[in-house]
Structure formats: C-alpha cells, structure tokens
Subunit: 570 residues, 2 copies
C-alpha cells in the first residue's frame, strides 16, 4: 500500500499519511472519490480554496501488466459542479506508483505561481512566475531545460492559467510531449485556480513495485497481454479513429452540432485516412499512451511536409471537431488538435462550445479558419474566447443558444445518444456527466466491441437491457479506473476475475471478482452521494432538442424508457 | 374564488378551471408555487417548452384595502434553476382580480411573437411581430395607440426578447408607464422564451369583487389604512431611498462590489437628495406603485431640466448602481434606472453583473459613462452585453472573476450580509436566492423598521435569534405575497390577525392568524421541495470572499453560526 501525500499550497507544507483501513482495494478513481466526498464541502466553489485536486495512480499502477498505468485526476468540477475523475496515460502515473504515492492531494491556493517537484526526497516548491501564460509545448521545453529530462510533467496551458472551464491537465507522454490529457470536467481550471503551473515527477532511486508473488504476476500478465495484442489489433492499426466509419454507418456520428448522424466526408477523416497519412508522412500508428501498453491505440501525426504536428489524433476529437463542425479535412482537424493541446483544453468540450458559437452566428459551420479564429480567441482571452472557454452549456446560456449538447454542464462526447443509446444512458446516469469513458456501449456485432456484450448490436438488445448494460459496464469501468486500467482492456466479468488474481499476486490478499464489483458499486455510490449533496441528481435529462428531433438519416429517437433509466441506481 | 385560466401558446387554445379544493387561502405566490411544483418538471429547461409562466394576483387582490394589489409572477428561474416568485405593483393585478382570474398560466411556446389580450370575453391572440425588439416606453406607446389606453400592460423589453437572464417583466403603473417590475429571477427571459411580448388586461365590464360582509371589510380597512399612513410616513416622504443613509451609517451599504460598507458620497444619492430633486424639479414623492396604496413609497424623478426621467428610483437601484459601482451622482443613477427600465432588466442583477465586468477590467468603478456603455452593450446584444446579461454569477464564471455577489445564481440586493446579518440569513435560506423581499431584517431601533422586531437593532439580538427572526419573517412574508400585500405593511402577528379578519369579511370563511402562518409555512415548504428536486439545497452559502474578508469600516464578519442556519427549516 502506498501513502497519501498532502501538499498545503498556501503554507508550502507537506504531510504524509498511510492509506486508511478499508481502502485496500482502492487507487485511482476510487481514492479520488473517497477523499473528495469526505473532505471537499459539496457546496465549495470549484475554483476556491476548499476544492482539492488529487492525482492518484491506480492500485496496480506501475506493475508489469499492460494498460494499467493510467493516472486519475479528481476534484469538484467547475463544469458540472459535481465530483470529477478524469484519467490519463503518459508517464506520471507509473512514476508516482514507483515512488509509493497512492494519492497526491493539492490543498488550498499557492500564493505565487508554482512548480511542484515530487521525488523520493519529498516535495519541493519552485516558482513558476515566468512560466505562466506559456503554451504547453514551450512550457515543456523550458521545464526540460531546467530539470531532469526524464521527469514526468503534469501541467496546464494558458487556458488553465486563465481558469477557463474547458481546460484540461496534460501529462507528458513517452516522447516527453504534452499531449496526454486528463481532459474532461475543467480540471485544468482547478489546477490554475491553485496557482500550480506544473508538477514534475522524478522517480530516480524510487523503491519501485514489490510483488507478493512476482512470477505468478508475470505469468498472468504475459498471457493476458498476448490476448490483448490479438484482440485489439484494429486499435493498434487505426487508433480510436477506426470508430469514425463505424459510428457514421450506424448513423450516430454527430454532424453539424448533433443535427444529423452521418457526415458526407466521413471517409476523409476516418481511421483509414489517418493511418495512411500517418504512415506515409513519417508519423506512427500503434503508439502507446503510456509505457507498457500493448493495445497502443495512440498515434503520431505529421503534416503534409512530414513535420510533427500532433499526437494523438483520437476519435472524439475527429468526430467533434471534424463531422460536428462539418470540417471534412483531417489535416485541419489535426491542426485544431495541436492548438487545443497547446492551449491545454479539452477537445470535446471545446468542439461543442465552438458549435454553440457557430449556432450564434459567430463562426460558420464548415469553415476551418473560423475554428482557428475561435481557438485564437481562447488563446488571446478575448470576451468571445472566454465565452467559448466557459464550456458549451454556459456559452449557450450566454449567447442565447438553445442547441448545446451537454449533460450536467459537461459536453457530450462524439456519440449521438439517439443512435448509440446505451452510451446515451451512460451520459444521463454517470456521476461524471456526459462521459463516454464512464461506459461506452458500442454495438457488439461490428467486430470492434470493447465489452463482450454480444447482444448489444444496433437495436438487437431490448431497451431495458441497455439500461442494465450501461449500469453493469459503469460499475466495471469504475473498477478499471480504480485499478489504473484503461477501459479498452474490457470492463467485463472475465477481466474482473483476472484483476482479482493480479491483486492477490501483487499484494497477497484474497479478493474475488465479486469483491471488485462491490468495490465498483461503492465507488459510484460515493460519487452519487457527493453529487446529491452538491445538488446534482443521480439521473439527468438530455437537452430538449434530443427528444424533439429525430436523428437523420435513420430517423432515430432516444426512446429508452425514462422511468427505467430513473431506476438505474436503485 | 376565482378561476385558473390556462393559455396554450403553441395551439392558441385556452382552458378554464376552478381553484382546487384546499387552495381556499391561496393566491399570488402560493398559487404560483402549487402550480409550478406540481406541473413543471424540476429538471425542465427554464427557457424550454415545459416551463410555465404564471401571473397570479393575491387572494385579497382588487379589494378595498391598502397595499393589497400586488401581482405575483412565477416560473422556474433561469438564474437560480429553482422556483421563482417575483411580485410587482402596477395596475394589472387588481384588474385580473376584478376579472375573477386567480392565475393566468402560460404554457408551451408561441409560434410567432404574440400579444395576449385578456378581458371578460376571454383571451385573444394577436401578432406582436412588429413589436419585438422595441424598448419598453416605445412599446407601451405603440400598444396604447392600438388598444384601449386603460388596459394594464404586462410586457418585456428587448432584453427579454433576447432571453437575457437579467430580464424582468414590467407592469404599467397608474400613469401607464412601463416602470413597475417583477424584476428578479430572470422572468423576463422566460416570457421572451414563450414568444409573448405583452399581455393586456382589460377589466371593462368585469364582475369586480364581491364581499361576504362589505361594510365590515371597509371598516377594518379604513382604520388600518390610517395607521399605515401614520407609521409609514418616512417612506411616503423619502421613498425606499431613505435607507441609503441608514444602511450607510450601519456600515452595510455595498460599495465597490461589496468591498466596503459605507460610501463617501452616500449623501449625494440619499433619500433626502432624491426628495429635494424630485420636488424642486416637478417630480413627485408619495406616488403609489399600485392604485389605493396609502404607503406610496414610489416616486417620479425629473432631470435637471424638469423633464420626466424615471419612476421609481428605489433604494436597491441607488445602492447597487450608485454606491456599489462608486457612482455618487443621483442623476446618473436615475439615467441608469431609466435605461434599465427601457431594456426591461432587473437593476439589482444588472448592477451586480456590471460590477463583475468592472472587476474584469472591462469598465471602471466610478465611471458613469462606463456604466452607460455597459448598458449600451446589453441593448446592442454584443458579446459583452450578453455576458453581462447572463447575470452576475455567470458573467463572473465567463470572465474568470471570483468576486460576484450572488446566492443560488441570483445577485444580492443592496445589503452587505456581514452587516445586515438577518437579511444575510434570508439570502442563504430563501428558496428564491438572494432576495431581500423574502425577509428583510433591518435594525428595529432606527425608527424605520418594518417588522416590529424591537430587539433586532444593530447587534442587540443574539445570533440564534436572527435565524429565528429570518425564518418567522420569511413565513409571514410568504403570507403577504400570497394574499397580495406588499411586505411593507409589516409581516407581523398583528397583521396576520388582521388579514384573517379581512378574509372572513371577504369570503365568509373562518380563518385565524395561525391558519395563515401554517399556510405561509406550506408555501415555503412547497418551494423548498421543488428546489430540492431541481438540485438546489434549502440552505446555500455566500461566495467565499464574504467569509474571508472583514467588512470595513466596522470590521464586520458574517458570524451567524452555520449549523444554526442549516437547521432553519427543520
């Protein structure tokens, strides 16, 4: 078991404590939830001194098993006003694990802009006064020139400095680039409000990971890894962008601010096009978002001249900045992605917010220069930039736009809930707001399904079943998020059993799949309880237009029984 | 008992129903609450088709008794997301009462901009396409030229047309001017969202009010009226602006966005200055906000050249657009007031929102031209105008400003809660958000007290007592709001007894002061229950700065025990 390290920013003090009894199965999202729910007042201003920002690697973080190195970032969200956990790849999570840190808790507000340096020797506070306002790529270069290049860097861009609600927190990837994001929920604004520009994780000389039964662990891990390599090949080859054509064919790819479910230029922004461009220009497919992951769904994308442009170009970004803004040009979307990474903002929230600005007539659908102008406004901090920067829901309120795709104040990911209905149920019922990562229920018969839910293919499953499936998958995703696993490994029963074995081999204590499922339920219950106290009901509604308009071209409606959804957590 | 008239805007249909059994004591706020809580989905979009906008005169509306002619306007508020009742003088309430209408319920959304004409013959729908965008004074002139001049007009300005959250709903006064406002909660945006520009109330040929015992009613009313004339003289002479000097001396007059509690130029914007200017320029003090009110705290204010400028100039407007923006010039404030009335916006929300824009550096404190420019931006609908127009809380979120004085998303009235602590308790605990009208607990020893709370003078009362007093007064104000009485008559026990006698003489049924108090509790409970379902807890917190900073010059803190406040509704 690791320790909880608390950093009192105002006083520049640090304390350490053991993980409390009863938290033996917790890490990542689970630890974030426990700390937030018991320590952050539900009514606290998300950008005020009483919010806490937590970085927690998963329980199995740092271990020799594929896809387990994700880092959970938690706080009360400025977008939803509720609890938030957003997890991210990169190199920071595993380094924290190796330092024996289960959770890093930032408390209060630093008097001056700071960098925190975390190593086996403790926490050092350094000034970041000259770094505030820097875009992320330059920030990372400056930091590398001053500190050990091998440090993992966690940081925010100029949007986070400005506390814009669509700001995310980056973690440097294995190339040292600021391109992996704990993007959702406005956590970058929380970090900005704490006056912390970056956190460096230095694991030199760390104790590393010990195992109760190392060989057993490695054996388990090895065969599982092999299976993952086989079954996830399509992601290794095409990245998450493989979904563009699939979701488009199903009629659920958000187009023109969720007006239509398929995009005429889907081919131009597909995973297939991405692969072709990446490989022909010297970029790369099959890039891991964190060390040791065999799924390797990330990529490196070069521009037409063969120069590095961005990493990684994901389905969500392409769907929402491409189809949903009617930009049928992958290079343009790649440029947007780089700009978002430079500013330190969530591409999902940003794209939805720009769509709202387009509804208001400030920019035009289909106009890539307009999108760049919008992003330029965010960079400059103009009033228009601040409006877009406040997120889709608030931008719509300010601009008098009704058509804003959000739940609980957080924008929808790139799945129209009228088509991808199981994920729609997740949007409405996840304590996190509209997060596909909380349980993405994709059709199971396309060959690309994550969930081993064979019978959930394009309308095959009954509506009741979709609610059940969303609930079960949400619980198992909560387990993945707590152990540090990417949900791409599959939030299914077989994996719960496998995780239980890993935990036994790593820590020596007995634990069953059912124990893990109970833990997952408890994680979600804790989050829901916090939300209730913060005034956020367990089940939300979609914006009115999703109920009023059918989704072309397949004339789909969101017809999952409301009463059934309401009972999901009973 | 009157009837409920429902207007289905989309279908241009009307239905009528009797008041349900059990609602015998309800009118005004009470009826609004019952209808909203049982018919509006708590999660409904305040500007969507499922919200309902209700106009309800008080139970004793239209009767021959002073100060009973107020009109309640209710809906789910876009500012707070909770239930809202805002009441207003003018001539509409009494006319509705004379038409036998207890509640006018607007449902759905009109396909085209409309005027609704309410008379004894029913409801007529007329087009308002050419009136959309008009400022209120011109709107009223156009309407008068087309329809009977004697109609009461209920309407919205261009801000309501734009659905800006700080929009109010005006009711024409006895001069036919658009200057009485159901200002708070953003109800003008709700009316705008329904696509209704104005409602005309024509009571020609109406049945009027019948009394069970007319003579008894008139006898009761007469002696009470005399007493009111005597005891409220200071308001007749100086208007509500008499409070400027009093609150300033107590150290609770919001100055420079609630930084200080007294304003160096308080004298220049005081009730005394107001009276002097009004009388010397051909304006008027002692003007009634609705026919028959003997308190007559309203006024008519002329400019330096003796031309009509605005009516009425109230304490809240002067405190918040004067002291709180550091404008020590009553004529400038009167101009702001007129501009706000023209645009159809709440001076309280607007002033607080402009203060936020000043914090962000968009305008300067103390600069009257800056305030006009800000209001001009609202008129033009620029992005800055829309940001300010979204209200203080949202403007602060968008502009990245921490210092925004609001509770539940609605801006504070002109009392610093660190000084006027009882009203501070009301701000935190009223289902309406920061409304002084929910229970304004002013010191009782200044000679100007409303509440006959003798022992609540400047710190004399214990802190526990202030919570109790706020609760009791909130309940009795709910009674006043339900019966149609202005809370200036005094929400006290003696008046509850008096109201019970009036109800007996009017309707013939027995009712005691205790029955009314029970009714008041039920009104508030109904509101709190709706809010809970909408995710708004019964007790809120002030923004952080109110707890962190002491209020100069008297070094006051908001030191009412939080645990005690939390128990207020138990």
């Amino acid at each position: 078991m690791g320790k909880i390290v608390r950093i009192f920013l105002q006083e520049k003090k640090v304390s350490e404590e053991e993980i409390p009894k009863g938290w033996e199965l917790l890490g990542g999202r689970g630890i974030c939830g426990k700390i937030i729910s018991s320590e952050v007042p539900p009514e606290a201003d998300p950008l005020g001194s009483k919010n806490k920002l937590i970085f927690a690697p998963g329980l199995l973080g740092g271990c020799y098993v594929s896809s387990s190195g994700r880092l959970s970032v938690g706080a009360k969200s400025p977008l939803t006003g509720g609890i938030k956990e957003s997890n991210v790849g990169g190199t920071a999570g595993q380094k924290l694990s190796r330092l024996g840190i289960s959770a890093l808790v930032l408390e209060g507000i630093s008097k001056e802009p700071s960098i925190l340096l975390i190593s086996k020797d403790g926490v050092k506070f350094e000034s970041a006064t000259d770094l505030v306002g820097l875009k992320t790529y330059e920030l990372v270069e400056k930091i590398k020139s001053r500190y050990d290049e091998k440090n993992a860097i966690i940081g925010i861009g100029p949007a986070g400095d400005k506390k814009l609600f669509l700001s995310g927190i980056f973690v440097s990837d294995i190339e040292g680039r600021p391109c992996r994001y704990a993007a959702r929920g406005g956590l970058g604004a929380v970090m900005g409000s704490k006056n912390v520009k970056a956190i460096l994780i230095d694991d030199k000389g760390a104790n590393g990971i010990s195992y109760d039964k190392r060989d057993e662990f490695l054996t388990l891990s090895k065969s599982w890894g092999k299976e993952l390599i086989e079954s996830r090949k399509v992601f290794t080859e095409y990245g998450t962008a493989v979904l563009i054509k699939i979701i488009n064919e199903l009629g659920g790819l958000p187009t023109r601010n969720f007006r239509v479910g398929s995009f005429k230029d889907a081919d131009k922004i597909s995973g297939e096009t991405l692969r072709e461009n990446a490989l022909s220009r010297g970029g790369r497919m099959g890039h891991p978002c964190h060390p040791g992951c065999v799924i390797r769904c990330s990529n490196i994308y070069h521009d037409k001249n063969g120069n590095y442009l961005t990493s990684a170009l994901e389905y969500e970004t392409i769907g929402l900045m491409g189809a949903n803004l009617e930009i049928g040009d992958l290079d343009a979307v790649a440029e947007f992605d780089r700009m978002c990474d430079e500013l330190g903002i969530d591409t999902i929230e940003t794209a939805n917010s720009i769509a709202v600005a387009m509804e208001a007539g400030l920019f035009k659908f289909g106009d890539a220069n307009g999108v760049k102008e919008a992003l330029g406004n965010i960079e400059k901090g103009t009033v228009i930039g601040r409006i877009i920067g406040s997120g889709a829901k608030r931008a719509a309120e300010t601009l008098g736009v009704k058509r804003a795709a959000h739940v609980k104040g957080q924008a929808l990911s790139s799945y129209d809930p009228r088509c991808i209905k199981g994920t729609g149920v997740t949007f409405l019922t996840s304590p996190m707001g509209a997060d596909h990562t909380a349980a993405n229920i994709l059709p199971g018969r396309t060959g690309y399904h994550f969930y081993d839910v064979d019978d959930d293919g394009g309308g095959v499953t009954s509506k009741e079943k979709k609610v059940e499936i969303s609930r079960d998958v949400q619980i198992m995703v909560a387990v993945c998020d707590t152990l540090g696993f990417c949900f791409f490994v599959g939030p299914n029963l077989a994996n719960m059993e496998f995780f239980a074995k890993l935990i036994k081999a790593r820590f020596g204590y007995n634990c069953s799949a059912l124990d893990l499922i109970e833990m997952g339920k408890d994680v979600i219950t804790t989050e829901i309880e916090f939300n209730k106290k913060a005034g956020i009901p367990p089940v939300s509604k979609l914006p009115e237009f999703f109920y009023k308009e059918t989704l072309k071209p397949k004339d789909l409606t969101f017809d999952i029984d409301e009463e059934n959804i309401k009972k999901i957590w009973e």
